[in-house]
């Protein structure tokens, strides 16, 4: 690893931090500054000006937006995310109870989807233009295009209603046996996997085909190298960067999908907490959840970037 690579990585890290700061400003502006006077809204139309002024003072709304933002940011960084109005609990306690559930869901999904997607993607790249490739290409395109709730409802109809194998509702608590684990996670994970596998497989296929079209692959064929060896020994080492990128980007898609899936299956994760918070207009909770999701998203994109840098043979073998 030379200084050039380190510098590139440092720059990406710096850019990610700056972006996260801007994101926090946008989030704060939308949730706390733009909507108008929170005190007035809280007290309703019939409050006296004195009451409103008193509440404003109490909430610190008399200060300019920039000061409130900095105050909020400092609190956020020190782990104090404020009080959830609708639950009458500290936001951090609420989230602490939910985050592990969502992480578990995401981890199981990733563990299932990545190998499947890689096999499908590489496989259809190898059989490019053939029957299997055409079929997979159509199926993945369709799965990328449909909404998660369509996959979810169809899955429930088939596996829970018609076949009766699984329950339509998930509860992450008191799992004691592997079978119970399967019954709990099968449907949400299947739904999430459908979309993510499709997306990842398409991107992997494109990345591998990109390499297969290159001059050095033609050269390898003309050296008498077998098709299998061409893919495994020649194309894949060069496609690591794009594939890692595909994985990271697809997983970041989880963040959106999980919102719908947790709601449908009543899964007690962080996303369903956020949807409830939005419905109840519980601003402190919304802000905290959004920042968590955006940080996770930026983290994944950053990992994708770093993979691309590190896998570049020119940089790696300097």
């Amino acid at each position: 690893m030379n200084s050039n690579t380190l510098w590139l990585i440092g720059r990406r890290l710096g850019a990610a931090v700056v972006t996260l700061l801007i994101v926090s400003m946008v989030v704060f502006a939308i949730t706390a500054v733009l909507p108008g006077d929170a005190a007035q809204q809280a007290l309703g139309q019939f409050a006296t000006p004195e009451q409103v002024a008193a509440l404003r003072l109490k909430l610190g709304l008399d200060q300019p937006g920039v000061v409130r933002y900095l105050h909020w940011l400092m609190n956020l960084l020190s782990g104090d995310m404020g009080q959830s109005v609708s639950n009458a609990m500290p936001v951090s306690d609420l989230m602490a109870g939910r985050v592990p559930n969502t992480l578990m869901l995401a981890a199981v999904t990733a563990l299932v989807s990545v190998p499947v997607a890689l096999i499908l993607g590489i496989g259809s790249a190898m059989g490019r233009g053939g029957r299997i490739d055409s079929f997979l290409s159509f199926v993945t395109l369709a799965l990328v295009a449909v909404p998660e709730f369509l996959v979810a409802t169809l899955a429930v109809l088939i596996f829970a209603v018609n076949l009766g194998w699984l329950s339509a509702l998930s509860y992450a608590s008191d799992i004691t046996s592997p079978l119970q684990f399967l019954r709990t996670y099968a449907l949400p994970v299947m739904t999430l996997c459908c979309v993510i596998v499709a997306q990842m497989a398409r991107m992997t296929r494109a990345a591998v085909i990109d390499q297969l079209d290159s001059a050095y692959v033609e050269m390898a064929r003309l050296k008498g190298v077998s098709p299998m060896r061409i893919v495994l020994r020649h194309a894949l080492p060069n496609a690591i960067g794009p594939i890692a990128n595909a994985i990271a980007l697809s997983l970041s898609y989880l963040l959106g999908g999980v919102v719908i899936v947790e709601t449908i299956f009543n899964y007690p994760g962080i996303a369903s907490l956020m949807v409830d918070a939005v419905t109840n207009r519980d601003m402190a909770l919304v802000q905290a959840c959004t920042m968590l999701f955006c940080t996770a998203y930026l983290g994944l994109v950053l990992i994708a970037d770093l993979c691309a840098i590190l896998s570049n043979p020119r940089l790696r073998n300097q």
């Binding site: 295009a145 169809l154 959106g256």
Partner: protein, 291 residues
């Protein structure tokens, strides 16, 4: 010697080859047909609806398909066909308006930033980068939590979250075109920036921009119906296709058509768009591969 030039044909067949396409081309036609059908439904749907959209016409809730009610009835006993014919207008209309706005805005900003001084380009790009790193569903959720849900807000949200993507793609294309020699020739000719942006660059990126608009339309349909499905999108008494899925979620355990059909409807719309776009762009890449 000049005769020889006159005889030599443009671009030998050796070069006029590209990738072999995947998937038969009739899939593209099917996709195009689905797009057209949904567009027609969005325009004429309300007139075609056999029953008033809000009227309870059957005592049976979650009725299955029958001659009287071709798509069954919903959780209150309303005609599903009518509700879908009317709801499609929201889904297609809102998404179309948002997609066109987002693409126009994104492409406009991209052209502006390509012909602008470096600092302005930098500022625009930074801002767009920040917005692109808020996942669209998150942005939609905080917008709704702050301002409440309305049709206008949904459009604003969709435009806000999809403009940066359109910008990014349009900018990378515009940067590539800007580096081409015909643009350099125009610059050394002393052309104004507006002329370069609109006459030299824009026409050459119009096709990919339209393709991108189609893809974005699909994403916006997914976003808006997702929001409606969460109960945070189009608000009752109006209902788009996503709301229809939500309000009939109680029929899930019976496998009622009222919940499956609107979900399938969204699926056919987005799959149709994607098939059509996929076909268009693979044909274009094949043609581009020839030069």
């Amino acid at each position: 010697m000049n005769d020889l030039i006159a005889k030599s044909a443009p671009a030998g067949p050796e070069l006029a080859l590209g990738k072999v396409s995947h998937g038969p081309s009739w899939l593209g036609l099917v996709g195009a047909a689905m797009c057209v059908i949904w567009l027609l439904v969005a325009i004429f749907g309300p007139w075609l609806a056999p029953h008033p959209v809000g009227e309870v016409i059957s005592d049976n809730v979650f009725d299955s398909l029958s001659a009287a009610y071709p798509l069954g009835t919903d959780y209150l006993g309303r005609d599903m066909l009518s509700r879908i014919l009317v709801g499609a207008r929201f889904t297609v209309g809102l998404a179309l308006i948002s997609a066109v706005l987002a693409s126009t805005l994104g492409t406009g900003c991209a052209l502006l930033s390509v012909v602008s001084p470096k600092w302005l380009d930098e500022v625009i790009s930074r801002l767009m980068d920040a917005f692109i790193s808020i996942p669209s569903k998150m942005l939609a959720l905080i917008m709704v939590s702050a301002f409440g849900s309305s049709v206008l807000l949904l459009i604003c949200t969709a435009v806000l979250s999809f403009t940066p993507g359109a910008f990014r793609i349009a900018r990378s294309m515009a940067v590539n075109i800007e580096a081409l020699e015909y643009v350099q020739v125009a610059r050394t000719r002393g052309e104004r920036r507006l002329y370069i942006a609109c006459v030299e660059i824009l026409p050459n990126m119009l096709n990919p921009v339209l393709t991108d608009l189609g893809l974005r339309f699909g994403f916006i349909v997914l976003l808006l119906s997702g929001m409606s499905f969460l109960g945070l999108g189009v608000q009752p008494p109006d209902a788009d296709l996503g709301s229809l899925v939500r309000e009939n979620i109680g029929g899930l355990n019976q496998g009622a058509p009222a919940i499956v059909i609107p979900a399938l409807a969204i699926g056919t719309l987005t799959i149709g768009v994607n098939l059509f776009i996929d076909r268009l762009s693979s044909r274009r890449s094949r043609r581009a591969g020839g030069h």
